[in-house]
């Protein structure tokens, strides 16, 4: 090893400003994206089950049962419903990387960096949103190729994207919170079915929530996923807003849409704040 040569003086790190803060956040997001791209299974695996649901199970059930007996096509109904599985699975996989970071990654180096610790969570969140967007786009594309019918309008896309985005924020924040609370990967994996899969069965992913007993319908209305799926269907396949009527029972579908969006936003903001707080507290002993 040679000796370290004299080098031109490097300026002291600039005090945190907006530009520097944005740069640090971008750096953390790029790091997370680099690590994710090194493990392609994190991209592909969450997509497998939902894709099969949308392209194999939905068309088969449509043939076997005759579909929803309404104007809504069952293949596209389940195609959107499968988003309720792909986003939670994608976020749960992303949350697992927080545990890897803590046990065998560079988390302590990041904690010693002159950036707010909330940025560590937000950097991961940015990548989780990007990844979920990619997976949802592939899922909807596969559903369309399999015969699903979608009515794409600018307004519809806006509702779909807003619902998907906020639900991803909620779901990733839940995953990050869980990862900060548990110490072992085994504990995290054991909690996955309850956090990521269970709501899928109540939220009207495969059938309208009105098809369930009254008490389960009432419970379903508390899940942000129920509101997200109803909104995404309103945007892409159900302009009449039948799913939103099942939740709110009001006369104006736009009002129902805004209410459901507000519910998801409330969950998303609350969980994001909790995840940042829990991470910051768990990272410092």
């Amino acid at each position: 090893m040679s000796a370290i040569a004299e080098a031109p003086s490097i300026a002291l790190p600039a005090p945190p400003g907006r530009a520097r803060a944005a740069g640090a956040l971008l750096t953390l997001a790029k790091r997370r994206a680099s690590l994710t791209s090194k493990t392609p299974r994190q991209i592909a695996v969450p997509l497998l089950g939902p894709a099969l649901l949308a392209t194999v199970v939905a068309p088969a059930l449509k043939v076997a049962t005759g579909g929803l007996h309404s104007q809504i096509d069952y293949t596209s109904f389940v195609g959107v419903g499968a988003v309720g599985l792909v986003i939670p699975l994608s976020c749960i996989f992303a949350g697992l990387s927080v545990l890897v970071d803590r046990h065998s990654g560079a988390q302590r180096e990041l904690l010693a960096a002159p950036v707010p610790r909330a940025f560590l969570v937000l950097g991961n969140l940015i990548v989780a949103i990007g990844l979920a967007t990619l997976q949802v786009a592939v899922l909807i594309g596969l559903s369309a190729l399999r015969g699903g019918t979608f009515h794409i309008t600018a307004g519809g896309v806006a509702w779909f994207v807003a619902a998907g985005l906020l639900f991803t924020v909620f779901m990733y924040s839940a995953a990050e919170t869980l990862a900060s609370r548990v110490t072992k990967q085994e504990d995290y994996v054991a909690a996955t079915p309850a956090v990521a899969i269970l709501p899928f069965f109540f939220a009207g992913a495969l059938f309208p929530i009105g098809a369930m007993p009254g008490v389960l319908t009432a419970i379903a209305k508390a899940f942000p996923l129920t509101h997200a799926l109803a909104l995404m269907r309103y945007g892409f396949i159900d302009p009449s807003g039948k799913g939103l009527h099942d939740i709110w029972g009001m006369h104006t579908v736009t009002g129902e849409a805004w209410l459901s969006l507000a519910v998801i936003a409330l969950w998303a903001v609350a969980l994001a704040a909790i995840s940042i707080r829990v991470f910051a507290r768990s990272a410092v002993s």
Partner: protein, 344 residues
């Protein structure tokens, strides 16, 4: 203020080096200490007192060692200074910035090399270095030059674009040292930097660290339980035992306290009885100590012959008699062993 230059500094471990450091232009006695720790205390949930109200200061440009066994409180102290452990009470400042009230500024002037590997294994060595540069706000142009220089310096040029997962333990540790230097920290923390490495790699790393102190003009706080490392690298050392600092001085001053020569022997009977006999005859002082069956006697005013005459007269059964010069191990064992014995 004297006009001594850094190149004229006395050798590490010299009793004059700390004084000389305070006299370097720009590092005078009026400048803020690089590290200032006051009544710093950490009690973990459950009541474990890891650090019990310690105080010390480190001058700019000084290499300061925290010595102690596992569980002594060294890493907790480093954790508080790097803001990854919240102090229970007391204060700590890095380059004048309070680590509790101004954590971002304190982190901005420091870097740390952790005891365990803390790297992104799937990423390349270069990506790990660039990450540090970006997070510490080093302009891209400067970062590239600095990284190129550092990877040459630590001998990683051939490996730098390979995933870190493919590095050996020593290569990984060298990468972490290079990473910590990318931002030219004012204070560099090295937490047990050579633990777990084979002797050859360990000596190579010590060379790198020794090179830093002469060329990089930064304050280094080093924790270790290898006393030879501290003796070789540090201007001053604090011996920390059960969360408290039990001695703080330059290695040479600490060694001087044990005299010019050490008599060491193994006793077949009670080592405490042998120590008592030697103390009664005033051949051994309060700084003599026993670890297991081995008795260590610093010789201040007596010679080894005097001591052996006493041993013969008292018919003590001893073996493996040797004389040698004192080392920091003796200082450490004297200070921590005595306290362990009194606690028992």
């Amino acid at each position: 203020m004297s006009s001594v230059s850094r190149e004229e500094l006395p050798e590490p471990g010299s009793p004059h080096r700390s004084t000389a450091l305070r006299g370097i232009d720009g590092l005078g006695e009026t400048s803020a200490p690089a590290v200032q720790v006051s009544a710093l205390r950490k009690t973990y949930p459950g009541g474990v007192e890891a650090v019990k109200g310690i105080d010390f200061q480190v001058a700019p440009g000084e290499v300061f060692g925290l010595l102690g066994p596992n569980g002594a409180g060294k890493s907790t102290t480093i954790g508080m200074l790097t803001t990854t452990v919240a102090p229970t009470s007391g204060s700590a400042r890095l380059a004048g910035y309070d680590v509790a009230a101004q954590p971002l500024l304190a982190r901005g002037v420091s870097s740390v090399v952790f005891q365990d590997a803390v790297v992104d294994g799937p990423l390349s060595g270069r990506a790990n270095l660039l990450l540090h540069a970006h997070l510490w706000g080093i302009p891209a142009g400067q970062a590239a030059g600095r990284i190129g220089e550092l990877i040459e310096a630590v001998g990683l040029a051939e490996l730098i674009d390979r995933p870190v997962d493919s590095y050996s333990g020593g290569q990984r540790r060298r990468l972490e040292i290079a990473r910590a230097l990318v931002s030219r920290p004012r204070v560099l923390f090295l937490d047990e930097p050579t633990v777990g490495l084979d002797p050859r790699i360990r000596h190579e790393l010590l060379d790198v660290i020794a090179g830093l102190r002469t060329r990089e003009e930064m304050t280094i706080v080093l924790t270790t339980h290898y006393l030879d490392e501290a003796q070789r690298l540090c201007d001053r050392v604090a011996i920390i035992h059960e969360g408290a600092i039990v001695a703080l001085d330059s290695p040479s001053a600490l060694l001087a306290g044990l005299g010019r020569e050490i008599l060491e022997f193994r006793v077949s009977g009670s080592p405490e009885a042998a120590l008592a006999a030697l103390r009664e005859r005033r051949v051994a002082g309060s700084d003599a100590f026993a670890v297991g069956a081995r008795v260590t006697v610093p010789l201040h005013e007596h010679t080894a012959t005097d001591a052996l005459a006493v041993i013969d007269g008292d018919h003590l059964h001893i073996s493996e008699i040797a004389t040698r010069i004192p080392t920091l191990d003796d200082v450490y064992l004297h200070l921590t062993g005595a306290r362990m014995a009194s606690a028992a």
